[in-house]
């Protein structure tokens, strides 16, 4: 295996008494589009800032392409950052903003001119060279920030909530563009976001952070299909949690006594677990119409919400509320509040996470 682009080993960051990042181990592969995902205050931005050198780790080792960078100041690291508010220099033109890093490295003038023109072309801002940042729209400023970082040919590009300041339409366009840009320049992108859809749609791999800890690292499908904890399942998409206990290998007894099959991954019998069931994985039938060979649970429709492309039902089972999302297809039966129904699911539709809160 080749040297990882970024490698955290037992990295901890404390601000006074507060632990912002708690012994994180993480390897980000070269050329990867990696997302650090988590709610605000989970330590994802601090992790990014430690890669950039804007914050220094309190403990542990941080390597960029195999080289220890722990105590190095930002200007000595082969990485560049796209800041959340872009942090463009207001007194410099677009061309001077983009050329700033090269000028600081004392690259010769002709070379700077050539590479700046190239970078401005790359982000499609030709003709804007002489403008000041405040004369550009938010989306254009975002591109300048990208060009200003990429022109230095960093080995790793860091992006702090790069799309948060853009409006929804622009954000979706930029998602595709960023992805295409990353493929074009072929360098490692590490980006921080609190938006799970953004992470799922853009990243090759995602690291989910919560409460200063790195909870799970994996491809978007893995994170979505096999969340390791209730927190991850809840943060990535929506999920129902059905409490139960492990009855044996891949056998679980739900709190209402129903025996179901699910991946218990080595948990011993009697362990409290939660079964995570995504709303769109819930199968909904009229009472008694569920397949006879599957365990099914009876309940009543509490509310039905029409979303255009889907119906969202809130179902009252005898011991909990369940959310179900049913694609709106012509053949699909619809239910109304008060209807008596049965729910079931396929064995591979669920994930098992540690129980309790």
């Amino acid at each position: 295996m080749s040297t990882p682009a970024v490698e955290f080993s037992g990295v901890t960051k404390r601000f006074g008494e507060v632990v912002a990042v708690d012994s994180v181990d993480l390897e980000i592969a070269d050329g990867e589009f990696f997302a650090l995902l988590g709610p605000s205050g989970c330590g994802k931005t601090t992790s990014l800032r430690m890669i950039a050198g804007l914050d220094l780790p309190s403990e542990g080792s941080l390597k960029i392409h195999g080289e220890e960078v722990g105590p190095l100041p930002p200007n000595k690291r082969p990485v560049n950052t796209v800041f959340q508010n872009y942090a463009l220099f207001p007194h410099l033109t677009i061309a001077d903003n983009v050329g700033f890093g090269l000028k600081m490295q004392k690259v010769d003038k002709a070379e700077i001119g050539r590479r700046v023109a190239e970078a401005i072309e790359l982000v499609q801002l030709g003709g804007m060279e002489r403008r000041k940042p405040t004369q550009l729209s938010g989306g254009q400023q975002q591109r300048v920030a990208l060009a200003r970082a990429l022109v230095n040919r960093p080995r790793v590009l860091l992006l702090d909530e790069p799309l948060a300041a853009l409006d929804l339409k622009l954000r979706q366009g930029m998602q595709n563009e960023l992805k295409a840009l990353q493929r074009e320049v072929g360098i490692t992108f590490v980006f921080v976001t609190h938006d799970q859809e953004e992470a799922l749609s853009m990243a090759d791999r995602i690291g989910v952070m919560g409460d200063a800890k790195l909870l799970q690292v994996g491809r978007p499908e893995e994170i979505y299909e096999q969340p390791v904890s209730r927190f991850v399942a809840d943060f990535i998409g929506r999920s129902n949690f059905l409490p139960g206990t492990v009855a044996g290998d891949d056998a679980i007894t739900l709190a209402n006594g129903a025996a179901i099959t699910g991946p218990t991954t080595g948990r011993s019998a009697g362990t409290a677990v939660d079964v995570s069931l995504r709303p769109e994985r819930v199968r909904l039938e009229a009472r008694g119409a569920a397949p006879a060979d599957r365990p099914s649970i009876d309940g009543v429709v509490r509310t039905a919400t029409f979303l255009g492309n889907a119906m969202v039902y809130s179902l009252g089972l005898d011991w909990l509320e369940l959310e179900a999302r049913i694609e709106n297809r012509p053949s699909q039966a619809r239910f109304a509040p008060g209807d008596e129904i049965s729910v079931w699911w396929r064995d591979d539709a669920i994930a098992v996470v540690d129980g309790g809160r």
């Binding site: 200007n75 942090a87 405040t134």
Partner: protein, 276 residues
């Protein structure tokens, strides 16, 4: 009806304010051209007092010393004041709160107190230098410059801090991320962005230095009479319209400085947001 009254009342109040502000200025300018030796009695138009201003060696010396003191003390106070502002806004260190409070002291304490402090300090420290090294130093231009630097640092740092406080710190982080050393980040990002504040502080310092009488009088010695101190002494000797002329010249210099600082601020606001 009430609106009419209010408007009239406000209007006359405004008129009075302007009258009391500018009537003295107008009188000063007018009587600086009066031929009568008595200040405040019109004796026909003359430029004699301005001629005397140009010819009087004492006045010329005082003006030269004033400008020297102002320029040197402003340059030094601007550098030190900006450094103090940077230290307080960008760094954390032990005793920062105390340093902060001490820095403001010269703004708060009365001029006379400052002046007496300076007098005591210079007398005591020059004596000390004398007994320790055998060099006899006297109060003069040097001590005046030092005293002006002492109070100007505070004013400069207040103005620069206000500007630094309004500056986005991520810009400095961005500069560091783009391979700038601390010095390069200051030189290429911080300084250009706070320059209007630095210039404003410098012009304020220049004005304060040119205007100061009280502190200067206590800190000066033979051969270091500044223009305001000279004017003050003229009044005690017996007033001639010469001091009108001198005052007009000082007025013109002050107005020029104010206009300059306005231009500096105008120039800096040109990189404020433009609409798309």
């Amino acid at each position: 009806m009430i609106r009419g009254w209010t408007a009239r009342l406000l209007g006359s109040a405004t008129g009075l304010v302007y009258f009391f502000l500018y009537a003295p200025v107008l009188l000063l300018v007018v009587f600086s051209f009066s031929a009568d030796r008595n200040v405040g009695r019109w004796g026909g138009f003359t430029l004699d007092w301005y001629r005397e201003f140009g010819a009087n060696a004492e006045v010329q010396d005082a003006l030269r010393i004033s400008l020297q003191v102002a320029v040197v003390s402003t340059l030094i106070a601007t550098v030190l004041g900006t450094m103090a502002a940077l230290a307080l806004e960008r760094f954390r260190f032990r005793g920062k709160k105390v340093f902060d409070a001490l820095l403001y002291l010269p703004i708060i304490i009365p001029d006379v107190t400052m002046a007496v402090m300076m007098l005591l300090f210079f007398t005591w420290s020059l004596d000390l230098v004398d007994t320790v090294t055998g060099f006899t130093l006297r109060k003069g231009v040097g001590t005046v410059v030092v005293s002006h630097i002492a109070f100007n640092i505070s004013f400069v740092s207040v103005v620069v801090r206000a500007r630094l406080d309004g500056m986005d710190q991520t810009l400095e982080q961005a500069a560091a991320d783009l391979y700038a050393t601390r010095w390069q980040a200051f030189r290429h990002v911080t300084l250009p962005l706070i320059l209007p504040g630095v210039l404003g502080g410098a012009l304020l310092a220049l004005t304060l230095s040119l205007d100061d009488v009280v502190v200067t009088q206590f800190a000066s010695g033979p051969g270091s009479t500044t223009l305001p101190v000279f004017v003050f002494s003229l009044i005690r000797k017996g007033v001639t319209p010469l001091i009108n002329a001198v005052s007009v010249v000082m007025l013109v210099i002050s107005v020029l400085l104010v206009v300059l600082s306005l231009i500096a601020q105008r120039a800096s606001s040109s990189d404020e947001p433009a609409t798309e």
